[in-house]
Symmetry: C2
Subunit: 310 residues, 2 copies
DNA sequence: GAGGCGTATTTGTCCAGGACAAATTGACGG
DNA sequence: CCGTCAATTTGTCCTGGACAAATACGCCTC
């Protein structure tokens, strides 16, 4: 007989917030309004979430992000939620289907070395540009979807991220070392404090590197005033910010607006990533596709040349 | 005349949490207990923090992180806080004093390319082993201390981390590709969910790689049951966990004990990092120095050989 | 039927003030 | 000098109420 609330599988509200990306206040108010989640309590009345409920919360987060209203979906069974999810996440990039299947197969076999080889082979075949702009996002999406369908475990997603990062970073290094002399624009890369994902940032860095830009990465999770300070210090021309669905679109826009006010008008702000509701606004550009970076750098250089000659 | 509460320089509690890294609950309870911060209120009684108070909060966070008690420092003037800040962080490793000064100078000049060159030169001069085991920790400590003293900004610390990671990861790749054939032990690397720092993990990976081990990294912040699942799936011989002072020693020990119960006795658990109170216990080893890894791998192989022949 | 606009509903975030566990300090004895 | 236990400090969690911002809905016009 299986104990449904196995002690080792209970999580505190802080752990659930970390794990699911749902703020504590939201977890509590959902419980109050919709009756779910319905955590156990320890002797001091603190919430203890069973692993099954945490899994359901992850599904809910994806659905809400995709546009469903919490009032309509919170409280439904996992089966119903899965049905809804399947209707939402129609895989957009069928092109890389074969590669994705191969990667998922290797992840299923826990074959780290094989995975690295395949990624390197893909890089060689497609070139750095297509690898970062097309294959990378496609594979990341496929792996994320497989995880949300329960086909792979978190540690397998971690493994993929780690191997992909390694391969891509090596390629960027190689491209920086050899090849074109580096010239402007000078681009500063980072993410906002709520955004811990480095993959999107790295893929963007690859695209800029291919265009011969001067790139400086601050890594992930830099406070906004610090990004502004770094922009001034490094005399950056462009701030490149990467977003995933980890961060609500509104917070992203608020952050970008705050950042806009902190740096001179001459510094451009380019935002990109898989953040559904992120729309361009006065003061910053939004890139839906990594492939749009290359022409945009060309445009920037034309503008810069005009400005210089005038 | 300067308006001390200029409207454009007021921040909501959520914004302060993001920028200072102090949770909302902590901001409220400091206000209640110590009378600081002392934010204005909008018409709906929501806190609005003036920029000056936010700056002071940043100083306070540094001091608290360096070991000062909030009750002793919250409420003091900026001048007093600055004096205290200058006293923290006496560099322990004087050996790498010259290198650290050079790195800090480059950070001060925002010279990313120069920094990369210096790190590469250090790597070549010292070799991967000494670079990862001695120079890396020494530089990281010096940079962290400089931040505590307010000599550099967070974005400069990020820049250092990013450049160091790049250099070290390239070196690990090179060492893996060429050189010895890989053989056991098979080592799985990760950190606990509360631990986002990747540098220690990477330095450990370098040490194991030099010994010719089969290394698999899951990256940072893997849930404990997932680490256990990955250990079984990959048939790992050793789980290598990295800790910083980010994580309280007791939580680390609790996590290690939990992990111990989830994996077979034959899998060893090796913990390391700059976590002050972390003591070895039955079931796992604790490494104070990265240089202790090499001999420990040798011991493991001897033990494995004995076990096999018996 | 498509599109703009004002109103109703939903939803996330904030507040206060109390409580207590976890972490740290300090006192005490070996 | 070091380990153990009690006192204190500190961070996190709790409840339940409130409301603004976001979203959906009804209505009107073209």
């Amino acid at each position: 007989m299986t104990n449904t609330s196995d002690l080792s599988r209970l999580m505190s509200i802080a752990a659930v917030e970390r794990d699911c990306g749902l703020p504590k206040d939201t977890l509590r108010v959902w419980e109050r309004r919709y009756g779910f989640p319905n955590p156990l309590r320890d002797r001091h009345d603190e919430r203890l979430y069973p692993a099954e409920q945490v899994a359901t919360l992850r599904l809910l987060r994806r659905l809400v992000e995709a546009g469903h209203r919490p009032g309509k979906v919170v409280g439904r069974s996992d089966e119903e939620l899965s049905v809804l999810l399947r209707q939402v996440g129609v895989p957009a990039r069928q092109i890389i289907g074969a590669e994705a299947r191969q990667v998922l197969k290797l992840l299923g076999a826990y074959d780290a070395a094989g995975l690295r080889e395949v990624l390197n082979a893909l890089l060689m075949r497609a070139g750095l540009g297509a690898f970062a702009a097309e294959i990378g996002p496609g594979l990341a999406e496929a792996v994320g979807a497989a995880w949300s369908r329960g086909e792979i475990e978190i540690h397998q997603e971690h493994l993929f991220t780690e191997q992909f990062t390694t391969v891509l970073r090596s390629a960027i290094n190689a491209a920086q070392g050899a090849g074109l002399p580096r010239r402007r624009p000078r681009v500063l890369f980072s993410t906002f404090p709520q955004e811990p994902h480095a993959l999107g940032l790295l893929m963007a860095e690859a695209m800029f590197t291919l265009e011969g830009c001067l790139g400086i990465s601050l890594g992930v999770q830099t406070p906004i005033p610090e990004i502004a300070a770094a922009a001034r210090a490094h005399e950056a021309d462009i701030l490149a910010l990467s977003f995933s669905s980890m961060i609500p679109a509104l917070q992203a826009i608020a952050g970008l607006t705050e950042l806009r006010a902190l740096v001179p008008e001459t510094v451009e702000i380019w935002a990109g990533g898989a953040c559904p509701g992120l729309r361009p606004k006065a003061g910053f550009l939004v890139f839906r596709e990594l492939s749009a970076i290359a022409p945009a750098v060309g445009d920037w250089r034309s503008r810069a040349a005009v400005a210089r000659s005038s």
